[in-house]
């Protein structure tokens, strides 16, 4: 079938897309290339080298900050995924319940709320109840922020799911819980995985909220990088950033493979 003339790509469309993608990717490409620069000056090219990667792996403070960030990310992403999935189920499957407006308001507000406000308010809570600030306060703060993103991701998948599958399972004698676990959960698993990854990367990324809620001895990687960057550009930071980008690339590729695999399983199961 011939496409309507207006839906075709015009040279204008192609140019704006190409320029847009170039704008999005060039800075990152530049950063990755310069992370392999042998020169101490970030802007002078001194040939290819892994020097700054070795430098990072010998930097105890950086490494412990990285370990802290990975631990906070893993724990908070897991908690956020569980809570966020529950929230998404409640938002899409429960009919109007009391406090629903408040509930959805609380879930959407953190998505746009300036981070300085969220960070400050959580810190004041922790100070008021005299909680010792460190790993757990940062983890709780990150869980609060990221569960909202998980809820949105899972909710969009749940919303587009065919409800008749759940209803069929219940007509065949499943109680709602079993219908959810046996039918719905496998279908939304890819978006739950995507939600976990998003929560993990957001936690790994967060500077402002972590700065407010952390205590002495619990520095996360962004806080550490930020203090380095404020003192001037250091080539070691390029190397760390490249490692983070690499890690995220691996996670994203793994997740997309997993979701492709699960959708293929879904197709082969369909005829049964």
């Amino acid at each position: 079938m011939a496409k309507p003339a207006l839906a075709r790509l015009s040279p204008f469309n192609v140019t704006s897309l190409a320029l847009g993608l170039a704008f999005l990717y060039l800075p990152i490409v530049v950063l990755v290339i310069y992370s392999f620069n042998a020169s101490r000056l970030v802007t002078v090219w001194g040939g290819w080298s892994l020097r700054w990667y070795f430098e990072f792996f010998n930097d105890a403070a950086m490494l412990s900050a990285a370990a802290m960030s990975l631990r906070v990310g893993a724990v908070s992403a897991t908690a956020a995924t569980i809570l966020g999935t529950f929230a998404a189920v409640a938002l899409t499957r429960a009919d109007n319940f009391r406090g629903r407006t408040l509930f959805s308001g609380m879930l959407y507000a953190p998505l746009v709320m300036p981070e300085v406000i969220t960070g400050l308010s959580l810190l004041l809570l922790f100070v008021a109840v005299d909680a010792e600030r460190g790993f757990w306060t940062v983890t709780i703060a990150h869980t609060t922020l990221t569960m909202c993103f998980v809820a949105v991701v899972v909710q969009s998948r749940l919303g587009s799911l065919d409800r008749s599958l759940e209803e069929a399972a219940m007509d065949l004698g499943c109680d709602p819980l079993r219908a959810f676990v046996k039918v719905t959960l496998p279908l939304i698993l890819p978006s739950i995985a995507a939600g976990w990854m998003l929560a993990f990367t957001l936690s790994l990324d967060d500077l402002v909220i972590a700065s407010f809620t952390t205590g002495p001895g619990s520095t996360t990687l962004p806080i550490r990088i930020y203090s380095e960057v404020r003192l001037g550009v250091k080539p070691e930071v390029n190397a760390i950033c490249t490692l983070i980008i690499g890690l995220l690339a691996v996670v994203i590729i793994a997740a997309s493979l997993a979701s492709k695999l699960s959708s293929r399983q879904g197709e082969s199961a369909a005829p049964l």
Binding site: F12, L24, Y34, T43, M106, L124, T143, M147, Y226, C241
Partner: protein, 304 residues
């Protein structure tokens, strides 16, 4: 009996844990911000007075309420530093949002015109940089914009400038950083509305003799208004409170309100004033947030 109602009860129960979590760690903390914004600054640990002591029961509440003061808000209203910070934040956020719209719209439009099987790929390509750390993306621009950075090198090599231009620590650098960081937040809602649009409407306009430009202006653009509003609010609100980008890329002469809050809190250790700044900022942002929420609900109802 419909399955829908059967499902509703366990689904409602699923809301208990996230509901309590958000009450405890999102809503309740604002109460503390409000309370401390009404407290006195003190050289103490924590640095504000009076400290609420729940073991004293009702008496504690009475003393706490009696000691509340509006001095911090009076300070905000009387000191030019704060007023200018708020103004600058709003101006920067409005300008950035306008630039984001101008940059993001053609990209989202191009995406929505791609063949259907390429669209998911284009969407992933737009999202991926958003997943690669915010701080890294701002930092990447320092590499490019600094005095002997790539941008100046390219401009010098092309003989477009005769001497290196100062990019870093200027408002230009800050706007580049903001537009770069928030672009996906603008593109995605725009793309969502543009991709949903019924192409029959465009064909009808073409059949009736409308030129491409007229069709865009009379059909596509009005239909994409919900996406424009959503994208604008998604960008505007967090940019008002932005701290990292202006701190790393802009000059230091006039801070945005997020920076002022940070300074009061971490450098001056004036927690009550920092809280008061947050309260005013929150009230300032509540209006666009409520508009956004109402619009979303209307959109949801329209879809049903």
């Amino acid at each position: 009996m419909s399955g829908r109602r059967l499902f509703s009860v366990p689904a409602r129960r699923a809301s208990v844990a996230p509901f309590l979590w958000m009450l405890l760690f999102f809503l309740l903390p604002f109460g503390f911000v409000l309370k401390i914004s009404l407290s006195h600054t003190a050289i103490a640990q924590p640095p504000y007075l009076p400290v609420f002591d729940p073991t004293q029961g009702m008496a504690a509440i009475k003393t706490a309420v009696a000691a509340l003061s509006l001095e911090n808000f009076r300070l905000l209203a009387s000191d030019h530093i704060y007023i200018l910070s708020y103004l600058r934040s709003v101006v920067v956020a409005l300008t950035s949002t306008a630039i984001l719209l101008a940059v993001g719209y053609p990209i989202a439009y191009g995406m929505s015109r791609l063949p259907a099987r390429w669209q998911p790929l284009a969407m992933i390509l737009v999202i991926v940089p958003f997943w690669t750390s915010f701080l890294i993306r701002v930092y990447a621009w320092i590499n490019i914009l600094q005095h002997d950075g790539i941008l100046n090198k390219v401009l010098l090599a092309l003989h477009l400038v005769s001497a290196p231009v100062v990019w870093l620590s200027t408002d230009t650098a800050m706007f580049i950083g903001i537009v770069y960081s928030y672009l996906p937040f603008m593109i995605l809602p725009l793309y969502a509305t543009l991709a949903k649009m019924d192409s029959a409407l465009l064909e009808a306009a073409a059949d009736l003799g409308s030129s491409r430009l007229a069709t865009f202006w009379l059909v596509t653009f009005p239909l994409s208004l919900p996406g424009i509003a959503a994208g604008a609010l998604l960008c505007f609100i967090p940019i008002v409170g932005e701290f990292v980008i202006p701190d790393l890329l802009a000059g230091s002469d006039s801070p945005m309100i997020g920076q002022t809050l940070w300074l009061e809190f971490f450098t001056n250790r004036d927690w009550p004033v920092a809280s008061a700044i947050a309260v005013v900022l929150l009230v300032l942002l509540l209006a666009p947030l409520l508009v956004y929420e109402r619009m979303q609900r209307r959109q949801l109802e329209g879809r049903r």
